[in-house]
Amino acid sequence: MSGFTFSDEQEKEITRIVAKYPFKKSAMLPLLTLVQRAEREVSPAAMVAISKKLDCSPAYVQSVMSFYTMYHAEKVGKYMILFCINISCQLNGCDKLLEYTAGKLGITVGETTPDGKFTLHREECLAACTEAPMMRVNDIYYGALTEQRIDDVLNSLD
């Protein structure tokens, strides 16, 4: 399979990452993360490219990738909303807020908006329990959520 090449900048980053470890294979998660962040998915072609870097089979890359929830075989939205539904957030009313967010985006949980802007996922505890209810949008944590705050956050993203 062809069609995936790393950019020069990514090649440099890969060299830096691989040098952290005595065995290349340890760079598996970092390389999958690099691809996922850049492409918003890990395609079969990317798996082949990673396997070549790490001297393992593409099937092996896929077996590792499929274990972790942050890698996606199908492209996710520009903004990935991880909505925490675990205990501290549940106690603080996250279920209604998640429903509200899904309704606002016009999708059900797990889906991506047709314009590819938002993906909404139900997420397990994100380690910000004292700020419950909370969500993570790409790399940013938003706590003390209310319908108003969700509106403000989503409206602020272009």
């Binding site: 952290k20 470890y21 005595p22 065995f23 294979k25 340890s26 760079a27 598996m28 998660l29 970092p30 999958l32 993360t33 790490l54 077996s63 590792v64 274990f67 972790y68 929830t69 942050m70 890698y71 991880l82 539904i85 675990n86 205990i87 501290s88 549940q90 106690l91 603080n92 397990e124 505890c125 994100l126 380690a127 910000a128 329990c129 004292t130 700020e131 419950a132 993570r136 790399d139 940013i140 944590y141």
Partner: protein, 418 residues
Amino acid sequence: MTQILFKNINTADLHTMKVYEAQGGYRSLKKAFAMQPEEIVAAVKTSGLRGRGGAGFPTGLKWSFLAKDVFPRYLCCNADESEPGTCKDRELLLKNPHLLIEGMILCAYACRIETGYIYLRGEFHDLSVIMEQAIADAYAKGYLGENIFGGGFNFDLHTHLGAGAYICGEESALLNSLEGERGEPRMKPPFPAVEGLYAQPTIVNNVETLCVVPYIVNEGAEKYASIGTKKSAGTKLVSVSGHVKKPANYEVVLGTPVREIIYDLAGGIRDDNKLKAFIPGGSSVPMLPADQVDVLYDYESLAAAGTMLGSGAMIVIDDSVNIVETTLRLISFYMRESCGKCTPCREGTRWLYQIVEQIMQNAGQLEHIEKMEDICDTMATNTFCPLADACVSPVVSSIKYFRADYEKYFTNVSTSLA
């Protein structure tokens, strides 16, 4: 109350080298390097420090278990923080990254380790950026790298991001994940101290545990040991969340009554509702009913009360809640996060989920409660790692203390219903 880890946590720009050093940061290194590594291990033993990640294993003892004369050795900081209710490591990493680096250098020196990794859960990308900056600054200052302070000691430190899997917080799964594999737990023994990362002797310690070490070196093991109770030395960060007025991370001296944590520190129950239950150590430990709120917050008192201190996450539940709903949410978590390696865990979590869901749809039978207990019996202590036991905790304790909440769903339902 004595503050060790949070003493200066809200100092502006504490995450920068300049402010951290101005606060006395990194001064433990000179003192440590003048000591023999074994003396530091002995001090950590004397201090009584126990692992803050969940199991509470004595830290100095763990360090002394490293396979003799086998090198290289590795140090892995467990910053996977995924136990529901727990968010203390996040605050330390966010506001005081250099404290962790200092603690890791001390551990590495004491254990003759030259390479360390900080395994951060994948969702902590923001923290990995902060951590990498702090590491770069520590290299620039000569605290990390080769021949530190000209004493011949080398230590390299790197971050490593996970990618979304609770089970990677379990130390052997963490090591597999760090090796680029699926994050499934390993058979133990051998324990990591004997055969860990790349099959070499490895220390795995929680963020908070490592952050305590500079204090022990600076102030002395006896001083640390004098804080708290005999078996539970020192302070503990407690993440108080749920139905309290002031949810936050609090540093408490071990042995403090739970009542004080909930009502004084965290301001009491929101809307002045009544306390119904509390889970004292993260979702994986048994819950206790309100009438046990006078229990002391330390390892031995919580064990005597039939629960555990765990990761130090206090989840507070008021009387507006039916405990069955909370329990189902926790079962769902363990069902989703089971790595699937062991049948009792993979299938047991699913069966428990299905049964409780049925009960909540008023379609259960009273015998279902017995069946749940039966499944829990098979799951407990029969698996590779304690995740299955963790799922059993909320189920068994909810049945024990809040059977009436289950029974509410059986009113108007004949027990002979199919």
